[in-house]
Amino acid sequence: MWSKSLFSAPLRSIAGESLLRFQPCLRLLPISQVRNAAHAAEGRANGAKKGAGKRLGLKKGAEELVVPGVIIFRQRGSKWHPGENCAMGRDHTIYATEKGYVKYYRDPNRNPKKKYIGVVFERHWRLPVPVGEPRRRRLGMLAVPRESEGQVGSLSPLTPAGLDGEAAGLPGVAVAATSPEESSMGEGELAKRRRRKDYVVRESNWEIGRTAEKAGVTATKFVRKDRFRAWRRAAARHRRISETKSVGRKAKKGKQGKVKK
């Protein structure tokens, strides 16, 4: 029946050659359509992917005991501001500068919008302190007898005592308490060296830094554009390195050879 109708004479006369050829193909195509995505499946659209948690937030709660340097709050930006006896670090971290108890508060007289973290010395104290009241402060220091009693007044950090050649040649070398070098030193010099708190008797850093100046050592001025000098120095360095390497290799070879023999 199918073949009959297909090749029937009247149809052929109406549609002509082309229709005849296409008719079966149209019927055989699959029924389908294209649907583009209406919503992005990945990337920014579905919210940024969260990285690892940064462990931000409160580290010490209200009225918790803190000592200087203890971190009270970690944050991005200044959600909280440092109040009494607190300070803000490089990354807006709030930390204590005094020993005491943490208080979270607002201070409308300072700024009505900001939130503050403070530390008070006594747990029952309240923040903010009323306007016009003197600050509550703490000395937090010890009074100790001044060292080098004989040198009081003559001690001047800006006038270095003349160093003898031996001392200038050996800067920063820790010496025993009764070294010959020390016994040759004057009273003031000895006292100055012994002022250090860690009991290591040595020159102070600023004196070490001046050693070259005292010994009259001068360095050639570095000229950035002087590429010839740079090349010469680099070449010398390479030569030196290769020499030391070759010496090492020879020594090793020699050793191995001996063992083999």
């Binding site: 000592v67 003197p134 220091m141 009074a143 007898p145 001047s156």
Partner: protein
């Protein structure tokens, strides 16, 4: 409105030739500097070279030194030197300028008339019976506001006068006259007062020493030649000398003041806190706009309760804030110095109490800071202050008490 232009004219009179030959002057200067010749102040026409000129001409060249403000620019000083014999305003050949002057003069005449009227009104009100003018309180209030208006008119009469402005800028203003007081007040409030306020609030002098202050006196503190900028560190050997105060008041008349210098940073080991100490206290000190000097060394003994004690900071101790307060005493009251001395000894003088007790009003303030330096030992020795042999040190950092971590959290 035409003050600026007229003032400009005034400055330009003597240097028309200078401004016209500016480039040639500059050329001459550069040539001179090349030859390292001395510079001529009068030929200064370039702001960049003014510092050099100031340095070179630090000593006055003229035999009769001009009464000038040291802060006045060299260029202006030079112009002033040329203007020793200026042409009077009336003879200046500028038509527009003369017309403008006529307007200003008419305005001044009008103001002078208003002043006369206001004075008459005040005189009539003073003589009027209180019951007619609505009671004593109302009368007093009205008189007060009328007098205030009178003062305003006095200032308005002179404020457009270019010569007044010139005289003020030359430092020749008479502080007995309201206009010069007004100009000085405006100048002080524009910068110096702001700086002083910033320093005393940032360094917490307010509220550590007094709860609050609204200064209306310009206070300068000097140690011989050293002028104290509010908040500066002053060497102990400098502050060992007695200071001089220059207290410029901007209100007419003489009043009695109490001068107190307080150091609120004396370390106290026992209380682990800071004590206050009075370094200087004097009362019944008369100060008026024309006599602003208060020389601590030459004050009469009858008015000094505590003589000058040099401020010292022990080695290692935090810096001391030395704050000076000028407190106005109530009208017509004097304070008994002996009683004051007994009531308020040097140590732990709590200035708040004193202010409250004697109804003083804080009017002026300045401060400086003091730290341990090489001269401190000598200063302490000479002043008989103890503690030269002591030094302050920070104790090793404290640790938080050990707390066992909850086991269920860390398996």
């Amino acid at each position: 409105m035409s003050i600026a232009s007229s003032a400009q004219c005034l400055r330009c009179i003597g240097r028309t030739s200078l401004s016209s030959s500016r480039s040639s002057t500059w050329r001459a200067f550069s040539k001179a500097s090349r030859q390292e010749a001395s510079l001529n102040t009068t030929s200064s026409s370039s702001p960049p070279i003014e510092p050099t000129l100031t340095r070179q001409t630090s000593t006055p060249v003229t035999s009769t030194p001009l009464q000038t403000d040291p802060s006045e620019s060299t260029r202006r000083q030079a112009v002033r030197k040329e203007l020793k014999d200026p042409i009077p305003f009336e003879q200046l050949p500028y038509e527009c300028f003369q017309e403008a002057r006529k307007i200003l003069q008419a305005d001044r005449e009008e103001k002078l008339g208003q002043i006369e009227i206001q004075r008459g009104r005040i005189a009539r009100l003073v003589e009027q019976d209180a019951s007619v003018s609505g009671g004593n309180v109302a009368k007093r209030k009205r008189l007060e506001s009328m007098r205030q208006r009178l003062e305003e008119l006095k200032i308005l009469a002179d404020i457009n006068d270019p010569l007044v402005k010139k005289r003020f800028e030359d430092g020749l203003g008479d502080m007995d006259k309201p206009i010069y007081r007004h100009l000085a007040y405006k100048k002080w409030i524009a910068y110096k007062r702001k700086v002083a306020m910033q320093r005393i609030t940032q360094m917490s002098v307010i509220p550590d020493v007094l709860p609050s202050i609204e200064p209306i006196l310009d206070v300068d503190m000097n140690f011989d030649r050293v002028r104290v900028q509010p908040g500066n560190f002053i060497m102990s050997t400098t502050s060992e000398r007695t200071p001089t105060f220059n207290v410029q008041s901007f209100a007419a008349g003489e009043r009695l003041y109490t001068v107190a210098v307080i150091d609120p940073d004396i370390p106290n080991i026992d209380t682990d806190n800071f004590d206050h100490k009075c370094l200087f206290l004097a009362t019944n000190v008369p100060i008026s706009p024309t006599s602003p000097k208060v020389d601590v060394a030459s004050l009469p003994d009858a008015s000094v309760a505590h003589s000058w004690l040099p401020p010292v900071a022990q080695m290692g101790a935090p810096y001391h804030r030395i704050s000076a307060f000028i407190l106005r005493q109530p009208h017509g009251t004097t304070i008994d110095v002996e009683a004051l001395k007994g009531q308020y000894p040097r140590d732990n003088l709590w200035l708040r109490d004193m202010v409250k007790k004697h109804s003083l009003r804080p009017m002026g303030v300045t401060m400086f800071r003091s730290m341990w330096d090489e001269g401190t030992d000598g200063v302490m020795e000479r002043a008989g202050i103890e503690g030269v042999d002591m030094e302050f040190q920070r104790p090793p950092p404290e640790k938080l008490p050990y707390k066992k971590k909850p086991g269920w959290k860390f398996r």
